[in-house]
């Protein structure tokens, strides 16, 4: 069986400016943040970012790498709004495709199933239809004749998800309570990248959790990388909870460009070893603080 082990550097080397990138997780939960840091480090811009948005969207916006965001929300969960995304929208620096969360789900599902669209009532009557003039409705061909929203497939050039465990063949396991939409992001993408807290021996995933926790199959994975703290500062239970203190610093760093440059230099535009070193410095200084 193919060994799909890779590295973040090699994964990101496949990206090109202008691509449409899907990012797994939800809000500030199990986000592929190490992949985001690697994209920022590589400076790949003009991206269309498709996400159940959290600080992944905010960090890419703050780095000026985003042309367009496809979203139903952007939130940090314990902090309602992401100031970096807000600034980008309010300053008119990014385009937006804003849709209902369920429409978003169906868009990914349609892409997974190679369908042009999937029908739904979600969106009918709302301004989602007005602010996305390319959206169309479709009439049921059956006797009911009902008119429904035709949510177009959200096709992705590449997708990144971060899971708790994986094996070298590309099976991925979520040990936390919610797989979110990660398998759909992978299924909707041409290049499919999985990072994991740990890459274990084939077969050993079942020592970690039940077979139904292996929600990513190797059918939808091109490359796997072991990246401890790959979702940090977002939550990745049971391996770690959200780092609320660091998330607060991320939010406060939006106050001015200097503060942001300092934060980004330590916690965003860095590789994983620098990131871990920066975290260690923070915890050392906070434990010795008066």
């Amino acid at each position: 069986m193919t060994d799909k082990r890779s590295s973040l550097v090699d994964m990101v080397a496949e990206l090109r400016p202008g691509m449409t990138i899907g990012l797994g997780g939800w809000g500030s939960r199990r986000k592929p943040m190490a992949a985001v840091r690697a994209i920022v480090g590589a400076g790949i811009g003009d991206l269309t970012v498709v996400s159940y948005g959290g600080p992944d969207v905010g960090q890419l916006c703050a780095a000026g790498l985003v042309r367009k965001v496809v979203f139903g929300f952007v939130t940090l969960d314990s902090i309602a709004l992401d100031p970096h995304f807000r600034a980008a929208r309010q300053q008119g620096r990014i385009e937006a495709m804003e849709v209902d969360e369920g429409m978003f789900y169906l868009g990914l599902l349609a892409a997974c199933q190679r369908l042009p669209f999937l029908p739904t009532r979600a969106g009918l009557g709302s301004d989602v239809m007005a602010v996305n003039p390319h959206l169309r409705t479709v009439r049921s061909p059956y006797d009911d004749g009902e008119e429904l929203v035709a949510m177009p497939a959200l096709q992705l050039d590449a997708a990144f998800v971060h899971v708790n465990r994986a094996d070298r063949h590309g099976n991925g396991q979520v040990l936390g309570p919610d797989p979110y939409f990660d398998d759909l992001f992978l299924g909707a993408a041409r290049r499919r990248f999985v990072t994991a807290e740990a890459v274990v021996e084939p077969g050993a995933l079942l020592d970690e959790g039940p077979v139904q926790s292996v929600v990513v199959t190797r059918l939808i994975t091109d490359a796997v990388a072991e990246v401890p703290l790959g979702a940090h500062f977002t939550s990745c239970p049971p391996d770690y909870q959200r780092d609320e203190a660091l998330q607060r610093r991320y939010v406060e760093a939006a106050a001015d460009p200097g503060t942001w440059a300092e934060f980004a230099g330590r916690f965003v535009a860095v590789d994983q070893s620098d990131y871990r070193r920066a975290l260690a410095e923070v915890s050392a200084s906070s434990s010795t603080a008066p």
Binding site: F73, D100, G102, G125, S126, D127
Partner: protein, 251 residues
């Protein structure tokens, strides 16, 4: 019971939103609606279905501040919530940055969507929720900026918009709007906003002055009910001994 607080009146009003719903997924947003849903389940709606706020349904009804003692009864990750939404077996109580006289709700942005004055959280699931199952709203700060004539971006669909689009009205219902001042609904011939009751200590004029759109006023206007002694005991001793309700609605 002169010591009943405004927050406690609002909890009872929120609980009443789910009265008669039976085995329905109650999805409250905000502290006071969350307490209301739990209070309803502990009293008149024992079959109500509640989530743990993560990815499971909650078998017990612990204090709101207590996430340690949650007993889970079934798995409901985000993706499966849509099965419930689209099957109509849910009654959500959402918040609104803006709500207008026909019940259109906005939580996306203030100003022109193309370059908003203030970017808010986004439409979230409001468009789908509002045309698939019963929706109620919680307005913790009833002001002319929150209760408006027209919202800047229609997220949750109101009665006028539902009427205009075939298919949107089929499963559309806005049950009730609970604010810090009053209980409102859309029980008028054209489904425009109507005052159902004012909370104790609030005048009809205060509600009208705090609304940025016309509100139909019946005569007489009843007073919102007080929580029963049993409800108050449950709320104060079981569901919210930490007093979170007073933090959401001080004074």
């Amino acid at each position: 019971m002169t010591d009943v607080t405004r927050a406690e009146v609002c909890v009872a009003a929120c609980a009443d939103a789910w009265r008669g719903d039976g085995e329905t997924l109650a999805s409250p947003f905000g502290t006071i609606p969350s307490l209301g849903a739990r209070l309803a389940r502990l009293t008149f709606e024992p079959d109500l279905v509640l989530t743990d706020g993560e990815a499971a349904l909650m078998a017990n009804t612990p204090p709101l501040s207590d996430t340690e003692d949650i007993v889970r009864e079934a798995w409901l990750p985000y993706r499966r919530v849509f099965d419930v939404v689209w099957a109509g077996r849910r009654h959500v109580m959402m918040m609104a940055s803006q709500l207008d006289r026909f019940g259109n709700q906005n939580l996306s942005c203030i100003g022109d969507w193309h370059r908003p004055k203030a970017q808010l959280i986004g439409v979230r699931g409001a468009p789908g929720n509002s045309v698939n199952h019963t929706t109620s709203y919680w307005i913790p700060s009833h002001t002319p900026r929150a209760v408006v004539d027209r919202v800047d971006m229609v997220c949750g669909v109101g009665y006028d918009r539902a009427r205009a689009v075939p298919g949107a009205a089929r499963f559309h219902e806005i049950r009730v709007v609970v604010s810090n001042l009053a209980v409102l609904d859309f029980a008028t011939p054209d489904h425009s906003l109507r005052l159902r009751s004012v909370h104790p200590g609030v005048s009809v004029d205060e509600v009208l002055a705090s609304s940025g759109c016309p509100v139909v006023v019946p005569d007489p206007v009843p007073e919102s009910r007080l929580p029963t002694p049993q409800e108050l005991a449950l709320l104060r001793q079981v569901l919210d001994p930490a007093g979170l309700r007073e933090k959401e609605l001080p004074g």
